[in-house]
């Protein structure tokens, strides 16, 4: 018995070692891994194809770009724990900061590329049922009694944190808005929340497919995608003011230096800033940074007043500490008697 089992075991170990050995890097890598968050799947399918063609035209080399998608936090954690990403394209700077905190990325990463290392931006809008039966027009309506709100859990979803901060900032921007009135509004809003899904896509499905709630807080690009998918069962309401959501990108220094793939990885990210890259982003409902490309898509992006996280919250580190960390304001809202 034991002889059989040891030989099986030895065989397996051998097989695993062979598998390990095979994953050793080649001298000149012609492939790279982009670790990204959930809503960018469609965007990067097109970007990867266009970039590969562009690279081939410039260098004659065939490249393969592999993709990995998941919740932004989970993806950042995978990179921290050793997922060999050449580039990361995540939902918020906080997640890339967390990777930088372990020494894999230069701490000054956000200054290495233009526009805060964010080649495209988005914002937070509302999705309502066809015909807007509850007459939802702006942020204040979400705090009214009898409105069912769907938004993901800010503790587990990057997009949900943008939603929360958009609501907070919008309340501050009201005439006479203070920290206290913002807190009261956000508490009322989350009191109206019916389901806190763990991710943005889950929340969209809950709202669109399951028919839960009257309004969904959503990324602008997700909202447009949901309208296409639902064939008109839902429509967009654009509030007067919202947050400028900046999903940043970065080269993972430790990985590209180890593999020798830095030129490829840097070219890939720079491609996002080219006219072609910007057009692809715009086609997928991400707001391009270059004004001349934005002008090519008249009416595609609603005109609203946008504030940045740096202006209102003093950056991600502060926002995370104040609002989302354990015992932060979001936790206090949900503490019994905390409302």
């Amino acid at each position: 018995m034991i002889r059989v089992s040891t030989s099986v075991f030895a065989l397996v170990c051998a097989a695993l070692l062979v598998a390990c050995a095979r994953s050793a890097p080649d001298s000149a890598p012609t492939d790279m891994l982009n670790v990204s968050y959930d809503p960018t799947r469609e965007l990067y399918v097109e970007v990867d194809k266009a970039f590969a063609a562009d690279w081939k035209a410039r260098t004659g080399q065939d490249v393969t770009i592999r993709q990995s998608h998941g919740g932004a936090g989970a993806q950042a954690r995978a990179v921290i724990d050793g997922l060999a990403a050449d580039v990361v394209t995540l939902a918020l700077a906080y997640d890339i900061d967390a990777i930088a905190g372990t020494g894999l990325i230069d701490p000054a990463w956000q200054t290495r590329l233009p526009d805060n290392s964010t080649p495209y931006t988005s914002t937070i809008v509302f999705l309502v049922r066809k015909g807007n039966p509850k007459g939802i027009r702006d942020w204040a309506d979400l705090g009214q009694p009898g409105i069912g709100v769907v938004t993901p859990n800010p503790k587990t979803s990057g997009g949900a944190r943008w939603n929360y901060l958009a609501a907070w900032g919008a309340a501050l921007r009201q005439p006479g808005g203070t920290e206290a009135s913002a807190r009261a509004f956000v508490s009322r809003l989350y009191g109206n929340v019916l389901v806190l899904d763990s991710g943005a896509r889950g929340a969209t499905t809950t709202f669109v497919q399951r028919g839960i709630g009257d309004v969904l807080l959503s990324w602008e690009n997700e909202a447009y995608l949901a309208i296409e998918e639902s064939k008109g069962a839902v429509e967009i309401v654009v509030p007067t003011v919202s947050i400028l959501a900046e999903p940043p990108v970065a080269v993972v220094d430790d990985v590209v230096d180890r593999r020798g793939s830095r030129p490829l990885a840097e070219a890939y990210l720079q491609y996002l800033y080219t006219t072609d890259g910007q057009r692809i982003a715009a086609r997928h409902h991400y707001r391009p940074r270059r004004p001349e490309i934005l002008a090519e898509f008249p009416g595609a992006f609603a005109d609203l007043s946008l504030f940045t996280i740096d202006e209102v919250f003093g950056g991600w580190q502060t926002a995370q500490r104040t609002h989302f960390a354990d015992g932060g304001i979001f936790d206090q809202i949900y503490r019994p008697g905390g409302r």
Partner: protein, 263 residues
């Protein structure tokens, strides 16, 4: 009553899976499961199960023999420890391997220096699969072996049979159904595992995605029909193992058709 329960709990969800999978006809169904990503996910899933099931089978038989045929102190604790991988949340099951083999894990620096990849590669996926399907064979055959008692084996021993002979001639025929069920469960779990594998996989398309992960990806891309098509493939794999079971059952019955044997 029992049938109503079954229909409500099992048949309706299955129906839902296949209805959704075939929503756009057979052509779309075939297209969904013949995607290169789907095929590579299928290969990976089968490979992980092919490693996990034999390992856990050997362990299960060995544990069954030790626990059912002998008395010793601490048996309950041992049994409970065998159950443990089960009670461990799949997420944690993945996490422990990250804590061991991840870049910041105990073995991380050594592995990085030698350029060996465990997590976010095949070995990690296999390890997580072995972990989650660990108790099945053991837990299925221990009650059967206990119910069987040990008198028959003892008699065989007294008559001069060797350990291996006793096992093959006396024990195995008695536990074969339990063993088969155990292997079946172990295999189904190994192929269907989602949580633990999703933590250690890295979700690289066409490379470290297993079939269940592929289903989730498709679902998240609003490709509901393709997602359910891939899910039906998993249900189909379970049915294949079941058919195999029936075939083996028939063979065994014919091979050992002893008159008067209730089995």
């Amino acid at each position: 009553m029992a049938l109503a329960f079954l229909v409500l709990f099992l048949f309706v969800p299955l129906l839902a899976v296949f209805t959704e999978a075939l929503r756009f006809g057979l052509g779309a169904y075939a297209a969904a499961i013949l995607q290169p990503d789907a095929l590579s996910a299928l290969r990976l899933t089968l490979l992980a199960a092919a490693v996990a099931v034999p390992l856990n089978l050997v362990f299960g038989v060995s544990a069954g023999w030790a626990i059912a045929k002998f008395d010793f102190r601490g048996k309950n604790i041992l049994l409970t420890l065998i159950d443990l991988p089960f009670a461990v949340s799949p997420v944690i099951a993945g996490l422990v391997f990250i804590l061991l083999f991840g870049r910041q894990g105990w073995l991380g620096p050594w592995l990085t220096d030698h350029d060996i990849r465990v997590v976010f590669a095949l070995p990690g996926i296999v390890l997580a699969t072995v972990f989650v399907s660990f108790p099945f064979v053991a837990r299925e055959i221990i009650p059967v072996m206990q119910a069987m008692g040990r008198e028959e084996e003892e008699a065989a021993r007294v008559l001069g049979a060797s350990g291996l002979q006793i096992f093959r001639r006396v024990t195995l025929p008695n536990i074969k159904w339990g063993l088969l069920y155990g292997v079946l469960l172990c295999n189904a779990r190994a192929m269907g595992e989602f949580g633990a594998v999703s933590v250690v996989s890295g979700k690289i398309r066409g490379e470290t995605n297993t079939l269940p992960l592929h289903v989730e990806i498709l679902y998240n891309e609003y490709q509901f029909q393709a997602a359910f098509a891939a899910a039906s493939l998993l249900a189909g794999l379970a049915i294949v193992t079941l058919v195999l079971k029936v075939v083996i059952e028939r063979r065994l019955q014919r091979a050992m058709a002893v008159p008067g044997d209730p089995l």
